[in-house]
């Protein structure tokens, strides 16, 4: 059971050059894989391709193979894929259904669409709202919330689907540190329950916390792929447009001043 991309390339319709080249990616169950990279390195494109939205609804041309739980999904229509893979967009405005008048209905929208029993829809919706501590927003109009609140609502909508595969494109971009922590905890819990999760993020602190494996994209290619702690401690990360996690930066600053980073001891943990 996993999501596997082999030799995947992708070119947007009308684009002069491909946005992804020769990407191999294995996303086993119960695992969080992080994707880092500079702006326009291909992170969002990889999310669209891995979730099947590109080329199905975005157009463009794809090569290589994508296998979901061992099956080639090439001929699958979007609605069939959408039952198995959830995707969270960078801009929560894109995610909201625009037809729900309350946050509760918004979060219940996905489970309703797949025809779950009423009681289960209600239970899952409250649970998702509770996990992200937004039960007090249940009666609010989702279109009239702050950007950060909308992002939490969009994420709650994904959680309510209890997806076995989830692709998240900068799920915490608009969140405050507390919101970021709640989403990190939700991602970790979902993975512990067996889901495979791909998270594209600029916030390497978040990747250091939730991802076991991290890959770095540059110009549409995978240029680093390995255990999170190794990849995120790579000294060349800055040259790839990726800010190292706080702990790594602090140790580098101490080292650059000619001090032994051992003076920091375990003080940089957590």
């Amino acid at each position: 059971m996993s999501l596997r991309l082999s030799g995947v390339g992708y070119r947007y319709a009308g684009a002069h050059r491909p946005s992804l080249l020769d990407v191999d990616l294995e996303l086993p169950d119960a695992t969080v894989v992080g994707v880092a990279g500079a702006s326009e390195a291909g992170k969002t494109t990889l999310c669209l391709v891995a979730s099947g939205l590109a080329p199905r609804t975005v157009g463009g041309r794809i090569r290589g193979t994508i296998r979901l739980d061992g099956e080639d999904v090439d001929a699958w229509p979007m609605h069939r894929l959408a039952e198995r893979i959830g995707i969270g967009f960078q801009n929560p405005g894109t995610q909201l259904s625009q037809v729900a008048d309350t946050v509760f209905e918004e979060v219940a929208f996905g489970p309703m669409n797949v025809g779950l029993p009423r009681d289960e829809i209600i239970e899952r919706t409250w649970e998702a709202l509770d996990v992200l501590r937004i039960t007090d927003l249940a009666e609010r109009d989702p279109r009239r919330l702050s950007g950060g609140q909308q992002q939490l609502v969009a994420t709650a909508g994904l959680l309510a689907m209890r997806p076995s595969h989830l692709v998240l494109d900068e799920p915490t971009a608009q969140l405050d540190p507390a919101g970021t922590r709640l989403v990190a905890d939700a991602i970790a819990r979902l993975a512990a329950d067996g889901a495979s999760i791909l998270v594209a993020e600029q916030k390497t602190d978040l990747l250091a916390e939730v991802a076991s494996r991290v890959l770095v994209l540059d110009g549409g290619r995978v240029v680093r792929d390995g255990p999170a702690d190794e990849v995120l401690a790579d000294h060349a990360l800055g040259e790839l447009g990726v800010a190292p996690p706080s702990a790594v930066r602090l140790r580098s600053a101490v080292e650059a001043a000619g001090l032994d980073p051992a003076v920091l001891g375990t003080s940089t943990d957590g």
Binding site: A178, D205, S267
Partner: protein, 279 residues
Amino acid sequence: MAELAVTGLVHVYREGAVRALDGVDLRIGTGERVALIGQNGSGKTTLVRHMNGLLRPTEGRVTIDGVDATTMTVAQLAARVGLVFQDPDRQVFSGTVRAEVEFGPRNLGRRGAELAAAVDAAIEAVGLAGEERTNPYDLGQSRRKLLALASVLAMRTPVLVLDEPTTGQDARGVDRVRAVVTSASDEGRTVIAISHDMRFVAEAFERVVVMRGGRVVLDGSPAEVFAAGNRETLSSTFLEPPLAATVGDRLGLGSTPTEASVVSALLARDSTGQAGATR
């Protein structure tokens, strides 16, 4: 160039009884670099929207150089306070990068060489040189956001207000935004930025204002605000200090909100012998 004073500011949005601002008092001097932090929904965006007249106070007032903002025309305010939205797609509308950046200063009456210089400098500052003829919607979201910043920079307003300027920016983008903040303030312009990025806040700003439930709960330098004594107040606003501050605290280095300050505190401790280390 411009002093901003907020007095007893209250704002109640019509749809509910939510007091988005519940009595804010704040005085910001010329050339200050002020970061505004607080959890989602604490009133930060509502506060800055009073500074350029997008919102009018329910109670209290905002003055710019002593003049009540509500008595100024849109044009007068636009010449004094430039506001960059969190979402660039709310403000970008021209067909090319250059036209987009020209729009603001042109509306303020700039023409010819003066206009060209302001536009060139702004495009250069955000790293979009060479993209002048590109359609803004052919830029990615993060560069479109830098474009929105350039279009407000080019107006050379004495006050610059940035709502979440580093969101979605990669390492280079954050460095650019930081350079823009520093150089604007070196030129004597006042910079106010809303941010959730505590490392950016500690490194680029000299003053940090913390909001909770529509009020100001802390106001001081990064070293003061992120000091160990404020940990409880910070966590009541669901904020965490930058890692450097926590580390300095654990190592007994005092308040060290930035990586650089951790390093200098460690060096100072070394130079005074090991006395400090055993404390």
